[in-house]
Assembly symmetry: C3
Homo-oligomer: 171 residues x 3
């Protein structure tokens, strides 16, 4: 089961994704893409950590998500990746986005664990100034399209409320 | 009945909220949080005023919404608050946001009138530059989550069209 | 049949609109509002062109959409206009927005062909800096409301997935 959870900033998407993961009854892994580069980001990470229960094993990987996935490729695991937007941002800065994206999409297809992907919806505002910002918005939208096609379920979270955008029929 | 109406800029959320209020058949109060600080804002307020019918009593309160609510706490009233985003912005500038938010959420729970809350969805674009702007987006998202949990009904308006995100079963 | 397709940047709205058009079985016209003003825009146009099949006849018109529509006003045509956001932007820069908008809305009502309109949802981020930018967001929202009222069907595309916001009952 692969589930993409989209939402705006502070939409409650992470909490929703965590409750979906906890409902699986599987061994829970939290794959965090955030890096505590400055104080503001440290506080955001602490805020997220505080709101999770202690049943989670934390893995931190800002770039090579496919390598982290490979270490947890078994059917009794549920891996929550939060969030893909920061991962995209990290890869764009390192100039290895295409490689990392392709490696990740391939890893997803090989993965036997449950995966819940959390990503920010960033494309509903003004087209931002600056070529890098526009590339970020473009690649984010393209990534969401690819992932939505790969996933069994896609949910959009607004004000803590979930809308189902896609739900594959269970066999 | 408490109803949260979310929508982007010029999505038709105010007009939708007004039609919901008018359908209640109750005494209508329009609690406006906007202040006519500059000409552009004056024109926006005039534009909104023009589009409302004359059945409304106008109360203007940019900050202490809980005090305004207390003066209209009876079951024959329907109060439309438009909009919470400006209220948040006003409170952040006055540095009293936490106090005002808590007072407002408590007042909501004590209120026997119908309440319709209008707020802007601002968290679906790029994370904005500047710590204050990011705080605005964060607090806006958190506020929407709290309010959605407090409200019986939550609606998202896009292009004048309403999507129901939450609807509590009527007893 | 008039169909408004809204979506964020790289949401898959163009591809979805194209598949709707192809499903009509009518003669397909692609009315493009983009102008290849700089290299980045040229690449975006090329990217869009590449992803369309060869069944399309291309018309380029950045401003006077009503004139372009008049040349294809027959019931065996399906015209996809992509995208209205750029058209709005072009008209604001030329300072003829009100005239062009009214002419377009009138032309829509007279049109006997199928029309599929693609437009960017830009109003769900922070209110942008600059009066022209705010005007752009405001006019975009107002335009979407007007068009949604004129159209038989309105669809919101997120991550390549379509949500129906409006669907008029077929007679």
């Amino acid at each position: 089961m692969k589930h993409l959870v989209l939402g705006g900033a502070r939409s409650g998407k992470s909490r929703y994704a965590e409750s979906c993961a906890e409902a699986t009854g599987k061994t829970l892994f939290y794959l965090a893409t955030a890096q505590a580069g400055d104080q503001e980001m440290s506080e955001r990470i602490a805020h997220h950590r505080q709101s999770r229960s202690s049943h989670w094993q934390l893995i931190e990987e800002p770039v090579a998500l496919h390598e982290a996935l490979a270490t947890m490729n078994h059917s009794e695991a549920c891996i929550l990746i939060d969030c893909l937007t920061l991962w995209l941002s990290n890869c764009l800065l390192l100039n290895n986005w295409e490689t990392m994206r392709e490696a990740f999409l391939s890893a997803l297809d090989r993965q036997s664990s449950d995966i819940i992907l959390v990503s920010n919806e960033v494309g509903h505002g003004m087209v931002p100034l600056g070529e890098l910002n526009r590339r970020f918005v473009d690649e984010s939208g393209r990534l969401h399209q690819s992932l939505a096609a790969h996933c069994d379920k896609v949910t959009l979270v607004t004000a803590g409320l979930a809308q189902t955008l896609k739900e594959a029929a269970t066999p």
